[in-house]
Symmetry: C2
Subunit: 443 residues, 2 copies
């Protein structure tokens, strides 16, 4: 694999950061949420913006902290994208029953004996927006920085859970056989490491593939993946793969399929290719057709694309916060949203059931004990049966069936890996779940 | 002015083609509408698309006929864009009263003694979509090729009329003084040809500026304009202006301000800069805030942007067909849409009143006798008081107040200049107006 051109590498830093597997250390040198507020910073504001407030994709300026706090809410202004259409019908409003008691809720962050309030956690996590549904009603909703209710925010690797959900749907419908090999659906992948993996192994990221997401290593495959998917013109001296699909064909085996969970973004792109072949639609079209146009969403979503128009299945989705909450509410209700069945019950049950915690344990996520990964979802296996979609910098969709609670959160934490924000988010979510169970009134 | 790098020039062919002033000859060597159908051609379809069906912005492939028939409905997949948000409310449906008698309507194309039917004209014009409103109700609606009701199509220079409408609005509100000089609002333009022009002269394109849109001439200013606005990274040897605003500061005088109408796209970009300074919002934000979020639109619109995030005021708008019709219906009703005032009556009256036909005549549009140009609108001064927004390749919003008719049309004619399609569109519109006046029943 040729090391991609430097400019491409820098430009595509966000692609590699899309890996929630990054086990970053929390750093304390960053300005806090108020000091790094993207509106206060004035990114891309003015006619023209001041030179030091212009952000670009090609020079990587857009994804340096604190600039990334603006960029995560404005990806479409930086690169080509494809719409995930909601259709033309009227949105179906989420009922609202806002509560004032949530901000003061106290919880203990992981590894801490200092209680923190829910409201304090939002700043600690660099939250851009958060919506909490309880029994389908909006009980809490806040926006910060560059995000508005009528804006779209990068979901980063939360994208993977949407793609995994589409796959689980096609499996439940009998259109996709998880026991078949990937090469049966995509012959072009036969000679790659994916060719001999089953669709199920790709869906659960238990493939044995050589795909390092260690971006300190210039030879890590994630750099080649990012350069291949960069939608900008390739440098003249670039000789690598020129699209996600071309990259996937170069992925080499490492280890054994089915032996362990290993979080590797390339799996989702391979799954996206399988879905495209099975459905005859791109992931963006399939998502629009089967889910997005049926949920009463308020806004079109969109996905970033590579130079051949392929949506970035591993991390390219951008969407409205309330719409992400709608998607979660549908899953909480077993695939039904406001009386309409969107997904087969079996697909949702398979997501919620989760995977094998023993497989998961081998990946070494110390803050996620007993969890598993199934259909591109993170499953807690806690007493509430909670499961989550997770993306770098703090993106999450957290569903707690026992508490009848859905939390959708967008954030722009300076550290990519969610290990940096789990300490002040996961215990807050669980504390809120318990609080709602204690105090919530049945509708 | 340095001649821009070749790649940038090719990539930006569409920007120069955005000039409806191109007086192209009709050529007959092109495949017809059926043979060039973009769905039939299979552009960007497949996983991946075949190599000869991949379209790119940077190599100019996307805007060669017949590929442009796909591209005009998919600009966002080729370059960065900014949303023109509709907000989050429910769309306000246009009442429907579809008529079956329109397809058979006969008319005489210009310079022809062979009658043509309305339906035949749609193929002759490479129509991608057309909606006709009569007394506010949809009486006709058709889609072809790559356009769907839930898609957005390039408006090309129809964009200018939206920008001119925003300017007329701010004038009517007393926030923008058309008698003041451009340099009073944008001091950076003081040394350019725009500096000494009045805002009114810019709004009506009667400025005396050196801005050739003759793209056969590699030294034509339109090339530098296109290269400056190209959102992709500039070539290493590029020394020209790097944004629309930087380009505008280089525009030199030619002739006398106020002496004649001359269709030059740079005027609209200069007007966009004035609007940004007066409102504190980009043209996209201003359009969303003041119009798009108040019309009950079905879809967000979007605009292409340059490398500093400035929307392309001269031709960058993309929108839904029905939404364009809504905008026209609001103007037909003097600034009111379904009972809600959107624009000051004075602004709409000033658009409809038109400009000076003597100024217009000097520009030599033989097929548009007696017309004028005012507030970036084309005014027919015919017996019906019809006025229109026009963009290359056949984009139009045609409003006939006397016939209580609005026609919104997107097209992808192989020839850029509207002279190539006016012969089979303008007489068809007028024939339909007369037909609706004869046969229409009052609601």
């Amino acid at each position: 694999m040729t090391l991609p051109h430097r400019v491409s590498s820098v430009a595509c830093a966000w692609l590699l950061l899309a890996s929630a597997g990054v086990q970053a250390q929390v750093q304390t040198a960053y300005p806090d949420a108020a000091a790094s507020d993207p509106v206060r910073m004035g990114w891309m504001v003015g006619s023209p913006p001041p030179a030091d407030r212009v952000l670009r994709f090609d020079d990587g300026s857009y994804f340096r902290f604190p600039a990334l706090r603006w960029s995560v809410a404005h990806f479409r202004q930086l690169m080509p994208t494809v719409s995930v259409s909601r259709g033309l019908g009227a949105p179906v409003a989420l009922p609202r029953a806002l509560r004032r008691d949530i901000d003061a809720l106290q919880f203990l962050p992981l590894r801490s004996d200092q209680p923190m309030s829910w409201e304090q956690s939002l700043a600690a996590n660099y939250t851009d927006g958060i919506v909490v549904l309880h029994r389908g009603r909006v009980v809490y909703e806040r926006y910060f920085g560059a995000l508005q209710p009528q804006g779209q925010h990068a979901a980063m690797s939360v994208t993977k859970s949407f793609v995994g959900t589409l796959a689980a749907m096609l499996v439940a419908e009998g259109r996709l056989d998880p026991a078949r090999r990937v090469a049966d659906y995509v012959p072009e992948l036969a000679a790659s490491a994916f060719g001999s993996a089953t669709v199920r192994q790709v869906m659960d990221m238990t493939t044995g593939i050589r795909f390092s997401e260690d971006y300190a290593d210039p030879k890590a495959e994630v750099w080649a993946h990012a350069a291949a998917g960069n939608p900008l013109p390739k440098p003249a001296d670039y000789n690598g793969p020129r699209s996600y699909y071309e990259f996937l064909q170069t992925v080499q085996p490492l280890g054994t399929h089915g032996a362990a969970f290993g979080y590797r973004t390339a799996n989702t792109d391979a799954l996206g290719w399988v879905l495209a072949r099975v459905s005859g639609q791109s992931v963006a079209e399939l998502l629009s057709d089967r889910i997005w146009s049926r949920l009463g969403t308020e806004q079109d979503a969109y996905m970033t694309v590579d130079a051949t128009g392929t949506p970035f299945a591993g991390g390219g989705l951008n969407l409205g916060l309330r719409d992400m909450a709608r998607f979660g509410e549908m899953l909480r209700n077993g695939g039904v949203f406001q009386g309409r069945r969107i997904l087969p019950a079996a697909a949702v049950a398979d997501i919620r059931r989760g995977g094998n915690p023993a497989d998961f344990a081998q990946a070494g996520y110390r803050q996620l004990p007993g969890w598993s990964y199934r259909n591109m979802w993170w499953v807690t296996h806690n007493a509430h049966g909670a499961f989550a979609a997770r993306g770098v910098h703090g993106q999450t969709l957290y569903i707690d069936p026992q508490a009848e609670m859905v939390i959708a959160r967008f954030a722009s934490h300076p550290v990519a890996g969610n290990a940096a924000n789990d300490a002040t988010s996961l215990p807050a979510y669980h504390a809120l779940a318990l609080h709602l169970m204690r105090s919530g009134k049945a509708p």
